[in-house]
Symmetry: C2
Subunit: 499 residues, 2 copies
């Protein structure tokens, strides 16, 4: 929901002309300060900065970005200009490509149109058809822009504007000279012809995405010196604000969900007892065949699947995963083992390392431990402050929402093992030389927190089990039962989605 | 060229049956040793291991990989099964996707069919048509497999084979049962029907790619226990060999090129004097327009370009690059600034970090410093042993060959500045507050080695200027002249390629 108290357009900057002499006088200290700030950012890496540059044609979007590139040390700067997705059947969820190029801390990235191109252009061109998608597109953007600053990717959003007459004049001038004619694309001429519509859509879009930590700045593009200087000053302010004391964190959006759900411990023993050996063998092979055929069907190419496994140590995740993957062609799936984040991963927003592994349509990604680490191990062991893991529930729900709305089938399994069974498996590992590598001093530390993990898991499941991405609790004290149940659930979920 | 002295098939391993009891007795110590070796690999990271598993259907390729996954700690293992490229118009050079998933040091990666699928299947299916591509495909593989072990990605190549009768029997058995019928794909049945052809192509391919550091191992897949054990033993041997003393480095293939080329210093002053200001402005705009129109042509979408800039410090690379990119739509190009490799980049083969940035068809990548760092700064400053930078000439030529044969237009510029002009620019930087960030103590260190750099550059240009990827030496003592010459060369190269 947009924040009502900021639902007005920001003031228009740089509307006063600046002479060349004035500019030459004020620029040097600004450039100096910018370079110093950038150097500090690159050295200390307290945050990353994503600068989104939008606006109307001829208002000076590329000139501003080129200006920045000349002023800053190019080593720590990237420029991204992602084309509008023209097909609805792209291989991955829409936001995937933006996640893919988010700046790590210490870096400044400039995004031409940022993630707004996918949202603004369809709204302009196919108004009727796009309406229902448009609201959701804005929602995705708002959620992303709430999350990024909290994950220390600061945002600066510039909108460059210019009056209709001046725009026409500039286009005519560029097109009149055959040397500069190529600078005006067909798309830009279309946009110029629809000036009023463009302004309306752009302004509404700005209003809808105006949030405390992701404010828009409007810059008048009429005067080249003035607009450059204004953009430079904004950048400097943004960098300096970043070095200052951090702004108070925003509250998670859905406050209601903060009340802990009441739920008893999960069952761990298979209802109806463990399966007999011969029954198990037959059913395993049957389910495996069913699964294999399902993912080979043509319709599955429009979907793809994300299979997520969580559970206490020794709950049997690996065994379940191998029973699934042995039914698959190795070209169709990846297993993503998730452990403590690497130094590189820590320099990006939390969900970055999971977005990277989102499968293409028709493919399957199996996660051995998942993005839920945030509200399990990181919460229980105190690796992450409460505010950060609390907001993760909403962020995860949104992440999975984006997967499912893209067509991906999301199944999440909590392998529920009793404290006693876990102990037995630990001891079996000690005896079995082959499983020694699985012994980890961390396991015993985690075991002492068994109940805290259980409680965290119950809250997690209460808050993140949605219709489209439900949790399945698997009674895992018996491995064979667990494997069959997992395979069966996956088959049923795929059948339901492809019906 | 294949090495003649090893042009015979390796012996067939695991052809003796092993009973379940024997297997259960010999396996535990093997698994134990494998885990210990893997742990050591992950801790000390002395090398990476790429295991390529090829073979005929039903010989047990996936079973072997699954076996390894069960035996090893999955955290440091990846499995890749890249589908055959079915279209000739893929966006990037064929080897790109393999570079993209090479293991970093400390990791073991399994490749189903490795980089052989693209080479074997076309040779089987469209024999006539593929012949001329086939020789080149083998050459690319041989070159890669010579380079990787020297860059500390060790290779282990397995070929699983099984007799025609046993293969038929296994296929019939799997297809007779509706539970296992799905396990035999149509492609596998095709391959089984053409058993003799498959064996012939596979064996020739093995012979053609048998090299000292990338030997093939043939495993008889008739007996499940025996083949598993043999594969496990090979893996253990390979790991242990990796920890041992490193094998003597191979000589670069083209010995002839080791004789230094004789060449005088490069010119630095613009022939015909510097351009006048008004001439410069007009010609810059003309060239920019010509360049802009060229890359907007439909034909350019079948190409794409790689523009590489090298030169002494302060030679004016950044200025030339900005004059080029200001003619482009930001969506069409990326500038890749290259500096000292990061910790992550150092854990991969040298060329990995450049392959990552190879552009798609129709796109342009501009490298501000390049892969030639190996034979310039790394050579002159002694960061890299002589043997490694010496072999880089051939490796780079092959890299660029792969780019150009894919259709990419490769232009390489050496901006040649005189020692005196460089000094003047350094001093100008000291005076100009805005360029302070460009001052780097390294610059002065490099300046003391000016002549050594010049010599390295001359040898580099002599050895890596090829018809398809030529060097252009740009007299850079005058910035304006240099910018015009660069723009003009790029336009001419694109026009020549699109003729």
């Amino acid at each position: 929901m947009p924040y009502k108290n900021v639902r007005r357009l920001p003031p228009l900057l740089a509307s006063r002309r600046m002479t060349r002499e004035q500019y030459d006088r004020v620029l040097p200290p600004l450039r100096d300060a910018l370079l110093a700030a950038q150097k500090r950012l690159a050295d200390e890496k307290p945050f990353a900065l994503a600068v989104i540059v939008t606006g109307v044609p001829t208002a000076g979007r590329s000139e501003i970005v080129n200006q920045f590139l000349e002023w800053l040390d190019p080593k720590h700067v990237r420029v991204h200009a992602l084309d509008v997705l023209r097909t609805a059947s792209h291989a991955r969820p829409v936001m995937w490509r933006y996640w893919n190029v988010l700046p790590p801390r210490g870096q400044i990235s400039f995004f031409f149109m940022g993630w707004y191109a996918d949202c603004v252009y369809p709204a302009l061109r196919h108004r009727k058809q796009a309406q229902r998608h448009h609201a959701r597109a804005l929602e995705r953007i708002r959620q992303l822009e709430r999350m990024l600053p909290q994950d220390r990717v600061h945002l600066m959003k510039l909108h460059l504007t210019v009056g209709r007459e001046l725009q026409q004049e500039r286009i005519h001038k560029l097109r009149a000279d055959k040397l500069t004619r190529w600078r005006v694309t067909r798309e830009e001429r279309w946009l110029a012809r629809h000036y009023d519509d463009v302004m309306k859509v752009a302004q509404r879009c700005m209003l809808d995405t105006q949030q405390p930590q992701a404010q828009w700045h409007r810059i008048d593009g009429s005067d080249p010196q003035s607009r450059s200087f204004a953009a430079g000053q904004l950048l400097l302010e943004e960098l300096e604000r970043g070095f200052g004391p951090s702004t108070p964190a925003q509250e998670p959006e859905h406050r209601a969900s903060r009340h802990p759900t009441k739920m008893r411990s999960f069952p761990t023993a298979p209802p109806g007892g463990p399966p007999a050996d011969d029954e198990y063998d037959l059913e395993l092979e049957t389910l495996r065949g069913r699964f294999a055929l399902l993912v080979r069907r043509n319709r599955f190419r429009k979907h793809g699947a994300v299979l997520a496994f969580e559970g206490m140590d020794a709950a049997g995740k690996g065994g379940c995963i191998r029973r699934l993957t042995s039914a698959l062609d190795a070209r169709q799936y990846t297993v993503v083992p998730v452990s403590a984040p690497s130094q590189e991963e820590l320099s990006y927003p939390y969900l970055w390392r999971f977005w990277r592994h989102v499968p293409k349509r028709g493919e399957i990604a199996v996660f051995d431990r998942t993005w839920y680490g945030r509200v399990l191990v990181e919460r229980v062991r105190g690796f992450t402050p409460e505010h950060d893991w609390r907001r993760a529930y909403d962020e995860i729900n949104e992440f999975e929402h984006q997967l499912t709305e893209h067509g991906l089938i999301v199944c999440k399994f909590w392998l529920s093992v009793s404290k006693r069974e876990q102990l037995e498996r630990f001891h079996a590992r000690d005896d079995d030389a082959l499983k020694r590598y699985k012994r980890d001093p961390e396991d015993w530390k985690n075991r002492r927190l068994f109940d805290a993990y259980g409680q965290a898991a119950r809250e997690m499941i209460g808050r993140t089990s949605t219709d489209l991405a439900p949790w399945t609790v698997v009674e895992a004290d018996n491995k064979k039962f667990a494997r069959l149940k997992v395979l069966r659930s996956v088959c049923e979920a795929i059948e339901a989605a492809m019906k």
